[in-house]
Amino acid sequence: MYKFVLTGLLVNFLFTATAQESLLKGVEDSLPVREKVSAAFKSTRVINAHSTEMLGRQNLDFRILHRFGPLNTGVKGWFGLDGAAMRMAFDYGITNNLMVGIGRSTLYKEVDGFVKTRIFQQATGPRSIPFSLLVAGGASVWTAPSSSLPRNPAKLDASQRTSYYIQLIAGRKFSDRISLQLSPIVLHQNWVAFPEEKNTLFAIGGGARYKFSKRMAVTMDYHHAIKGISNANYDPLSIGIDIETGGHVFQLHFSNAQGMNERAYLTQTNSRDMRFGFNLSRVFKLGKKRS
């Protein structure tokens, strides 16, 4: 009997001794955790199009966009660098799932604004979701004199100068490197420049990223107008490189679109000639520090 008790004690001490090796065992949750998939794209825009990314809460994004002239102007036009269109914009994250933005382009002195919200976010683990879904809606107004607008119309009133859009963005980060998205868009222009153009335009957008190093990625976005576009218009295609420098994101690219808001790049891309351009994004944190 004593022998038995001793053996029992010894066995038990041995057991507790081995159990001691990992204190965390049993305390840590061993269940798989639900994880939201983030950073499918470096920036809230693929190049021209809204991406599946959002700004964080109280993050202010100052964006400067340039689109130069066509590359095929050659040395005479310094490969397009002689002429530049520009858009300056401020985007702000109200919550992690809701952001707003305003911008102004030099092209027809157009002012634009948008609201973008995330309906759900791609997630892994329990209650996983295979893709993210967002919706963006916006409006833009030409503020340039009527005589300088496309096709030099007679005097346009404020309503005629306005257009609206709503866009759904569905995207999936397939791996650390590859992200793809699809974004159908409906654009309504109160006034159209060409007779064959319809006031309401439907287009489908596509965006992609291939991240080839920790701070660089190749990006592409494209829109194809399904209905309502003028014959003089071409599908906007942009191919570029994202460079992240910790704070700044530079998006250098070639595109045949000169427009930098939804209405402009969808309806005012009137050639296949590629141009150089860049987006510069700098994020600031506003509001009090949480600690």
Binding site: Q20, S22, L24, G26, V27, A39, G56, R215, S291
Partner: protein, 198 residues
């Protein structure tokens, strides 16, 4: 099966004793263990160009008063930064959280017997152990303060680590914004007794 034949009865007594022994042994050990699932781990990187900080309030820690063992486990993705973009950068490009989801510390409190659990006071403790981040394990020493107030144990510790030690690369592009060393602060507001059910 449940006949009172001598042999069976003796077997049952044996089994009962074995069972009781198991409980007693584990209970003795368990009583000296404490845990928390809400330890706060923060880190700070400061350079003339940028001050970066991140906080994780869900670190898990277990502390054994008998042996002096102390352990931490922190989910890298649980660190919250001011800027969403910075947080994504940290997880994706610096610590590669998908590959190395946790940081683990396994250490020992040298002078653990100076800590009198039944006596209020502030105790200085020398903690030495192995900190594993980004798949790299490195021995670290940290000066810690344990506070005991009416049986409740709280603790705070500070540690400075060298980023390069953990094979975390800072590309030239961002080198002047990320400190060569990072200060880590650990704060535990209350350790709870660890019972067998936990």
């Amino acid at each position: 099966m449940f006949t009172f034949s001598g042999q069976h009865f003796f077997m049952r007594v044996r089994m009962t004793i074995l069972f009781l022994l198991t409980i007693v042994c584990h209970a003795v050990i368990a009583q000296t263990r404490f845990f928390t699932k809400s330890a706060k781990v923060s880190f700070y990187s400061t350079t003339p160009l940028a001050a970066i900080e991140a906080h994780n309030v869900k670190a898990v820690s277990v502390f054994d008063h008998t042996s002096g063992q102390i352990e931490f486990s922190v989910l890298m993705k649980g660190f919250e930064f001011e800027k969403a973009r910075m947080q994504a950068d940290f997880n994706e490009n610096f610590v590669e959280s998908d590959k190395y989801p946790k940081a683990i510390f396994r250490g020992n409190i040298k002078n653990v017997h100076d800590l009198a659990l039944n006596k209020d006071g502030v105790y200085r403790a020398q903690v030495t152990g192995v900190l594993t981040i980004h798949g790299v394990s490195k021995t670290q020493n940290a000066e810690s303060l344990f506070t005991i107030k009416s049986g409740v144990i709280s603790a705070a510790s500070e540690l400075i680590i060298t980023v390069a030690d953990y094979n975390i690369k800072t590309p030239a592009l961002v080198a002047d914004k990320i400190g060569k060393t990072v200060k880590i602060l650990v704060n535990i507001s209350a350790y709870q007794p660890l019972s067998q059910n936990n």
